[in-house]
Amino acid sequence: MNKKEFMEKLDKALAGIPKDEKKEVMRDYEEHFSIGLEKGRTEEEIAKSLGDRASLAKSIKAEYTITRAKREPGIKNIFRATIAVAGLGLFNLIFVLIPLIIAVELLFAAYIVAVVFIAVPFLILVYPTSVTILSGDTPTWMVVAGFHIIGGILLVVLLYITKGFYRLILAHLQMNVKIIRGE
């Protein structure tokens, strides 16, 4: 493999990371080739000594996606990072992606419950009979207020859980990258 082939393949393998970042990475290898050539090595020798570019590209990508998920929190970036780390292939995708999906679903369901509880006072305006069934002897306004308050508390708790959960996932991903790097 000569320099052109190596650079083209690396460029392809780095698809998905932003232009600036990629340019910087490519620049480093470009420099490596030009210094190697000055020292009298052939392009083929240099390409061979650089090692497998597919695994190089994978670790560069995983590194990048985690940095971004930290800088710009969001479910999209967390999924990107998870997939990139899973792409390193050291551990099973099932052990990372499936628990993440289940946890996100559970959180989502809990958010819906919280929102419905909070909305009870408004719902009762639309369906006046729905709460009388539940309330029995307790005055209706108490039941309605109770739902509303519990919903509010649940929402606050969920926000905290989500935050903690986010950090946990990032830490877990970073740990996996570290294992792969061999630290």
Binding site: Y29, E30, E31, E38, D52, E183
Partner: protein, 107 residues
Amino acid sequence: VNIQIKKGVIEVCVFAILSKKDCYGYELAETISKHVKISEGTIYPLLRRLTKEGYFTTYLRESSEGPPRKYYKMSKQGIEYKKSLSKDWNDLTKGVNELIEECEKDE
């Protein structure tokens, strides 16, 4: 050599070299290669990460031959980290060597 061991070793080597003088990537790869067999390409992701983590800073310097070279310079944080890394490394190798010696004596 086992690839996982090697990755940790390269990091120790990079810190050792940069604590003496600023270097460009090729120089680091070349110096390490003289002592340890490595894939030279792995040095760049490592340098990028350690730079992002604040252990190194970089600057470009013209060279008499060819394009400018990116030099890596150890930051204050890097110097501190190098100290603890060297100590960890010495403790580790000392411990492992002692263990190997003991085991070989038993044979």
